[in-house]
């Protein structure tokens, strides 16, 4: 019965977002620019999702962040859908390309789509297991929900970030539950796939557009993040929706459409720092129009209205709108949660971990090669990459781009947005992991596919073109099957939620023991970040590199300062990974020496040790992939035995 309620909550949430989107589309007359049903449904849903999340921010800072507050706003969206449903009903009008050249292929692709969606559903009805999601994307909204308000989380990368999409996660968790949340993450991924299909229908027949949508949905980076709660895939939907409305606005000269494009770009800004780059790229493109300055102004203002609230929130609490990126540049004074000294350390660590490539013109040009053929492991382009279709179609894309009659405004603008985004992203010194390019990947995918398809038809080489798409579908669908088998094992067995999470999440067994044996009066500091979401009692992520509330840098050996800051945070238990309390000769670093001294003096007394299994890939661990057995231990803090 609970599951039925949670699915009903999901349907209500989807309907509500569709309602908000339909109302905005009708208000500005933007529904007239979309070209087919898939585009209308995708655009309406994506627009509504952003608007819904936008409202929730203001409810959150006002302290009205609870299911009781979420239901009325959800209901209002459903009423809007009832009033404006005609927009979606009328959207099934004749598509631009109505020919069905390959009905057999269409049937095969439809069958493949059903399989792909079924695989996604297996993940959607399983408990969450992704480490980033459990550390941040689901954990922080849950924290807000428990607090009944949005709080400033003074943690770099996983705390003080734009959280527009996280608002929808909080709503899903609040009005439904965990099943609603995981299914919602799945639906937001599908929305991006629907958008890809809709835009591809502008130049391809149904089979071609469907093939491209399946290529997108099975892209390794989409499998990794799409249904798991990562925000890149919904951001891709924002970017694509913004781009198509922007093109329509430029064609018609309508400032209303430019405003809607700005809203969508602003939602991307509010969901991820890299949205700033996309909005800047779009603004630059607009400047080439004869009304460029006016359009760029309209676009910029609406983008700010849609996404700037999270930057204002960060600025209000820390003085840095993109915390902690500008902390040093702005020369901000030290606070209780961040200091200039820690900022320098964090920056150095971040560069070491996230920037394997020097920012040179050669690396900028070769990045696509590195990132396609997994030549630089830190780019993570294997299991979380963007696939190989763009490379396979490269000769045809180049030939297509050379022919003037194949280059339409959509293609040029899509290329320009993707190229500017990539260039600024690479030059900015931010993370170089390839999956962060996912938000502009559909733009590039659609533009290349369109040019290559037209070239293959013009030069009668449709067979190698189809073979390239077919090969990609085969290998990606195979990867998807392997990825989904982990969830299938859970869904088609009697495995409980707890057993699934103990099997897939490092140190989950320790958290479940803590939840069963400690109380809400306790507070546990823990080092493995991917368990944050699981705690049922107060907890604190003792991250050595991204928070300074309790300085736990490896070089630290000031026991008195450490104990003082943990006491200030009300911490009375520590859950520590084996290397942090067992000093080996190869790991003789300051913080380990400090913890060893605490244990020797009785400042920390071991309560229980737990065997744990770490794995670099949950998917590959099923078939014998690399795992790492170690232990984690729970310590009770005894202040009377600690250094002053």
């Amino acid at each position: 019965m609970d599951n039925v309620f949670q699915v009903a909550a999901l349907i209500a949430l989807v309907a509500s977002c569709a309602g908000f989107g339909a109302a905005i589309l009708r208000l500005v007359g933007a529904h007239s620019v979309v070209r087919n049903g898939a585009e209308t449904c995708g655009l309406g849903f994506v627009l509504g999702m952003g608007a819904f999340a936008w409202v929730l921010f203001f409810m959150g800072i006002a302290g009205a962040f609870s299911p009781q507050a979420f239901w009325p706003i959800t209901g209002f969206g459903i009423i809007l859908l009832a009033v404006n449903a005609g927009i979606y009903r009328g959207a099934t009008a004749t598509p631009v390309v109505a020919t069905q050249k390959y009905p057999l292929w269409l049937i095969i692709l439809l069958a493949l789509l059903v399989v792909v969606l079924a695989f996604d559903l297996l993940e959607g009805i399983s408990p969450p297991a992704d480490a980033d999601t459990l550390a941040s994307h689901f954990a922080v909204p849950r924290q807000f929900l428990l607090a009944g308000r949005i709080e400033f989380v003074p943690r770099a990368v996983t705390g003080a970030i734009p959280m527009l999409l996280h608002m929808t996660y909080a709503a899903a968790l609040g009005i439904g539950g965990e099943l609603t949340l995981t299914l919602w993450a799945m639906v937001t991924g599908w929305a991006a796939g629907l958008m890809v299909y809709g835009v591809a229908r502008r130049f391809a027949d149904p089979a071609g557009a469907l093939a491209l949508a399946i290529v997108f949905l099975t892209t390794p980076a989409v499998l990794y993040g799409g249904g798991g709660g990562q925000v890149e895939v919904p951001c891709a939907a924002f970017a694509l929706a913004s781009a198509i409305v922007l093109v329509a606005g430029l064609k018609s000269g309508s400032w209303r459409l430019i405003a809607v494009a700005g809203l969508l770009a602003g939602f991307f800004v509010g969901a991820k720092y890299f949205g700033l780059i996309f909005a800047g790229a779009a603004g630059l493109v607009l400047l080439f129009h004869r009304q460029g300055i006016r359009f760029a102004l309209v676009f910029g203002v609406t983008a700010l209205v849609a996404g700037a609230q999270w930057y204002a929130w960060n600025w209000w609490h820390s003085g840095d709108p993109v915390f902690p990126s500008l902390f040093l540049a702005l020369g901000l004074p030290d606070t209780s949660f961040w200091t200039a000294d820690y900022g320098k350390y964090h920056r150095a660590y971040y560069v070491e971990a996230e920037n394997p490539l020097a920012r040179t013109v050669v690396n900028w040009l070769l990045y696509p090669v590195y990132a396609t053929f997994d030549m630089v492991p830190k780019l993570e382009s294997g299991r979380t990459g963007l696939g190989v279709l763009l490379f396979l179609l490269l000769p045809l894309t180049v030939v297509g781009a050379y022919r003037k009659q194949f280059r339409d405004r959509e293609t040029i603008i899509f290329f320009a947005l993707a190229a500017i985004f990539f260039t600024v992203w690479f030059a900015s010194g931010t993370t170089q992991r390839v999956r962060h390019l996912l938000p502009v990947y559909p733009l590039l995918l659609i533009a290349c596919f369109a040019l290559a398809l037209k070239a293959s038809e013009a030069y009668a080489v449709i067979r190698p073109f189809s073979a390239a798409v077919f090969l990609v579908l085969i290998v990606q669908a195979g990867g998807h099957a392997l990825f989904a088998s982990n969830y299938a094992k859970h869904v088609f067995s009697n495995e409980t939620r707890r057993e699934f999470q103990e099997r897939n999440i490092r140190a989950a067994n320790a958290v479940f023991w803590i939840n069963d044996n400690l109380s809400r009066r306790d507070r546990v500091a823990y080092t493995p970040r991917g368990i944050a979401y699981l705690f049922a009692i107060p907890s604190f992520m003792l991250h050595p590199h991204s928070q300074a509330l309790i300085d736990f840098r490896p070089s630290l050996d000031d026991g008195g300062k450490f104990i003082a800051s943990t006491t200030k945070q009300g911490i009375n238990y520590f859950l520590l990974d084996e290397p942090w309390h067992r000093m080996g000769s190869e790991n003789a670093i300051g913080s380990m020496r400090m913890m060893k001294a605490f244990i020797a003096s009785g400042c920390l007394k071991k309560i229980k040790a737990f065997p744990i299994i770490g794995m670099s890939s949950r998917t590959l661990a099923q078939v014998g992939g690399e795992t790492d057995a170690s232990t984690i231990a729970l310590f009770r803090h005894h202040p009377e035995n600690c250094p002053a």
Binding site: G382, L392, P395, P464, A467, L471, V475, G479, L620, V623
Partner: protein, 47 residues
């Protein structure tokens, strides 16, 4: 005219062949990314 058509046909065949070679070579290189997963899966399937 026939000679022109024949020449165009040879050009098309050559370009098509080059495209096939490109696609197969790039795809084979890409599969190297997944050498480890493929090895593991074959290990499970065939002992």
């Amino acid at each position: 005219m026939t000679g022109q058509n024949s020449s165009r046909g040879r050009l098309h065949t050559g370009l098509s062949a080059l495209l096939w070679v490109w696609i197969l070579a790039v795809f084979a290189a890409y599969l190297q990314n997944y050498a480890e997963p493929i090895r593991l899966i074959f290990g499970v399937l065939f002992g």
